[in-house]
Every structure is written in structure tokens, then in C-alpha cells.
């Protein structure tokens, strides 16, 4: 299972702070495409972190079971 954590306005769009996906392994590109088809996350600016390390969205990286992915949008309130 892959855990995805959401923050800021993306968490609002997803209506959840976190979810677990049944997939055992998938590329980051496929994961982002899947999430975009479910929640239209492409509308938001955000960065991706895997296991708390921020990586490029375009990086060829495979997400494995037990990995924790986070979608981090910039905040603007103050």
C-alpha cells in the first residue's frame, strides 16, 4: 500500500488529509496522473515529497509499498 498525504487546498479538494492506495508499486508519473484523474490536482501548484524528501515531479522514480508520498502546495494566508 502507498500512503498519500495531502496539505492545504489540495487536502480540501481531496476532502481528506491522507489516503492509502492499494497499489504495491507504481511510477511517480503514474501516481500523479491517477491523482489528477481523481481530484484534478493539476489545477494546483504543488511540490511532491517521497518519505519527507522533496523530489522533482518529473523524476523517474518508482514508489514502492510502504512509501509515503506528500503533495505540498504553497500556502498564502497570513
Amino acid at each position: 500500500m502507498i500512503t498519500v498525504n495531502y496539505f492545504g487546498n489540495i487536502a480540501e479538494a481531496v476532502q481528506s488529509d491522507s489516503e492509502t492506495l492499494a497499489q504495491k508499486s507504481m511510477s511517480l508519473t503514474d501516481l500523479l496522473a491517477l491523482l489528477d484523474s481523481k481530484y484534478a490536482i493539476g489545477h494546483f501548484p504543488f511540490q511532491v515529497a517521497i518519505n519527507r524528501k522533496i523530489v522533482s515531479k518529473n523524476q523517474a522514480v518508482t514508489i514502492s509499498e510502504a512509501d509515503e508520498v506528500a503533495l505540498l502546495p504553497p500556502f498564502a494566508g497570513g
Binding site: 498525504n5 496539505f7 492545504g8 487546498n9 487536502a11 480540501e12 488529509d17 489545477h43 494546483f44 501548484p45 511540490q47 515529497a49 519527507r52 524528501k53 522533496i54 523530489v55 522533482s56 523524476q59 506528500a70 505540498l72 502546495p73 504553497p74 500556502f75 498564502a76 494566508g77 497570513g78
Partner: protein
């Protein structure tokens, strides 16, 4: 001194830490929810000089979270009202008020008077202006921002570390501010206080600064997560000039180290203190051998630009104990004058 006694006794602060706070100059951009938490803590802690930039007036809908202001102040400018409150907290504080919004045009000039910038705005566009200006003038900034019950804190452009653009490149997608998304006073209060805390750590040189890291605090479930910037270079010791320690004119006058004036001959004002040695930058390459490599050398010029070049040159020649004096000849003279007329006070 009694005012700060409880923090002076902390390990890592002491009298020298208190002097660092007193010598520091911090600019807070935005006197709203975050600013109202940042400002009083910095002022009370003994920061020497605080600038406040904000063109807004106090509105009733601000009062639930912008706790520096009260009902009778609605309609007045935030900057001047905040400034009055801060000076009451610490009469030794110098406050500079900029009753205007930060723009790409005025940013460089406003920033020039300060060493550390705190971003307490609620606007993505201005954040890029702050980032760009901090990069251009080599100053770190403490970022804080909130979204509903969550907050983010980070420190950018610190000692060669990543910038805001490194993590959030500018694009046309927008993020909502408080007016659009709603906000609870305790959320901006906590995040603002974390910003003030990072600022003090930077000034005091203690703890681990949130450079190259993004802290996200969820106030609803009290979780804190720190994300590391993996795809940008780690904070590195900067290439040249930034690696020199910068000291205040007041510190420069302590002890009897050489104060090296690298201005050209005849530049005013003349600094004729006993410890001053005058070698213009243009002849330093030839004349450096008259300097003692084992002694500490404190360098100044007119504005701080040539002193960096001089330090670079001397560092290449093998000098190791080099310090830059903040500001220029004028500041050094002012410090010397007030040293003679006043006792040290915080």
C-alpha cells in the same frame, strides 16, 4: 539588563547573545496576523531595530487574529499603531515604519537597512518579490504562511541555502489567502511565533535553522512534519564573500584589533581612530604584506561592498581572521561617538 536577565542566563545566549540581538536589524513585511505574533516577541526580546512594512489600515474583521490592535484603532494605519505598542514593550527599540505596500520597486531600498527579512504577508506575488530581492542583496528570509488550520515555516536564502523559487517555482496557479479561505487567530499566532523563533536562532547562531526544510504544522491534529528539499543543493558554505563574519560597528570597537579602512585616500568621513589602518583597495594587493596574518583584521569601507572585495583578496593571500564591519565609515564613527557619550545599555 534586568529586562533580559531570564534569557541571558540561557546557555547559548549570554551577554554576547543579547548584544547580537541588540545589534540586529529585522524587517517584518506585513503587520497582519503573522506580523502581530512576530513583532511583539522580537521587540520584547531586545532586537535593536525593527522595520514594519504594511500599507493597510486596521479593519474590524482583523481584530480576532491581529492581536496588537483593539477596537478603537479601527481605521488607523497598522504600521504606526504596531510601532507604538512595540516601543512600549522595549523603549530601547528603534522602529522604522513603512506605511506602504512592498513592491518590486521599493523592496531593494527598504531591505537595504536590514539584515534579516520576515515574510508575514498573505500574498504569493509579494513572496516572489521578497525572494528575488533577498537573492539580489544576499539576505535570508523567514517564510511563514497558513492555510486554514495548517501552517508552513521555512528559511530561505540562508548561507547559500535554497530559495523560495527553488521549492515553489512561480506559476500562474494561485493559492487562497485568509480573506478567501478563513483563518483562526491561534493558527497565525503559532506560525508567527515559529517565524520569530527562527529569526532569533539565526541572529543568535543557535540551534538548527529551517533552511532547506519546510515545516508543516497541522493545528487540528497537532502533527508537525518536516520535509527536506532533496532536489536542490544543501545549504553549503558560500563561495566567497558571504563566508566572512559580519560584526556590528559597536562590536568592531571592542578590543584593539586592527580596523582596516580600504577606501581610497581622501574619502570622507575620515576615521582617525587609533586602531585604524588605511590601505585602499586599489593598492591592497601590493601592500598586504604589511598586515599581520595571525591578528584579527576588521575591515570597513564606505558601504560594505569594497570591504567584501578586500576580504576576498586577503583570504586568497592566506589571511584567516577576517571580519567585516556592517555598514560603513559613517556607522563606525556613530558607534564610536555613542560609545563615548553613553554607557552600554540594551
Amino acid at each position: 539588563m534586568e529586562r533580559f536577565q531570564r534569557q541571558i542566563i540561557l546557555q547559548g545566549i549570554g551577554i554576547s547573545g543579547q548584544q547580537k540581538l541588540k545589534a540586529s536589524r529585522v524587517l517584518v513585511v506585513g503587520a497582519g496576523g503573522l506580523g502581530c505574533a512576530v513583532l511583539p516577541y522580537l521587540a520584547a526580546a531586545g532586537i535593536g531595530k525593527i522595520g514594519i512594512v504594511d500599507g493597510d489600515k486596521i479593519e474590524e474583521s482583523n481584530l480576532h487574529r491581529q492581536i496588537l490592535y483593539s477596537t478603537e484603532q479601527v481605521g488607523l494605519y497598522k504600521t504606526s499603531e504596531a510601532a507604538q505598542d512595540l516601543v512600549k514593550k522595549n523603549p530601547g527599540l528603534e522602529v522604522l515604519v513603512f506605511e506602504e505596500f512592498l513592491t518590486a520597486k521599493n523592496a531593494a531600498e527598504i531591505f537595504s537597512d536590514f539584515d534579516l527579512i520576515i515574510d508575514a504577508t498573505d500574498n504569493l506575488f509579494i513572496r516572489y518579490v521578497i525572494d528575488d530581492t533577498c537573492i539580489a542583496c544576499g539576505k535570508p528570509f523567514v517564510y511563514g504562511s497558513i492555510h486554514q488550520f495548517q501552517g508552513q515555516v521555512s528559511v530561505f536564502n540562508f548561507e547559500g541555502g535554497p530559495t523560495y523559487r527553488d521549492i515553489f517555482p512561480e506559476d500562474n496557479k494561485s493559492a487562497p489567502n485568509c480573506a478567501e479561505a478563513g483563518v483562526l487567530g491561534t493558527t497565525v499566532g503559532l506560525i508567527g511565533m515559529l517565524q520569530a523563533n527562527e529569526a532569533m536562532k539565526i541572529i543568535l547562531g543557535i540551534g538548527e535553522v529551517l533552511s532547506g526544510k519546510l515545516l508543516i504544522y497541522n493545528l487540528l491534529n497537532n502533527t508537525q512534519q518536516v520535509f527536506e528539499f532533496g532536489n536542490v543543493p544543501k545549504p553549503k558554505k558560500p563561495h566567497i564573500s558571504e563566508s566572512f563574519e559580519i560584526i556590528s560597528p559597536e562590536e568592531a570597537l571592542l578590543g584593539d584589533s586592527i580596523l582596516l579602512d580600504v577606501r581610497e585616500l581622501g574619502e570622507l568621513p575620515e576615521v582617525s581612530l587609533e586602531t585604524v589602518l588605511h590601505i585602499p583597495l586599489s593598492t591592497l594587493e601590493k601592500e598586504f604584506s604589511s598586515l599581520d596574518k595571525s591578528a584579527e583584521i576588521r575591515i570597513f569601507c564606505q558601504s560594505g561592498i569594497r570591504s567584501r572585495k578586500a576580504a576576498d583578496l586577503l583570504a586568497r593571500k592566506g589571511f584567516e581572521k577576517l571580519k567585516l564591519i556592517r555598514g560603513g565609515a559613517k556607522d563606525l564613527l556613530n558607534a564610536d561617538r555613542s560609545r563615548k557619550t553613553e554607557k552600554t545599555s540594551f
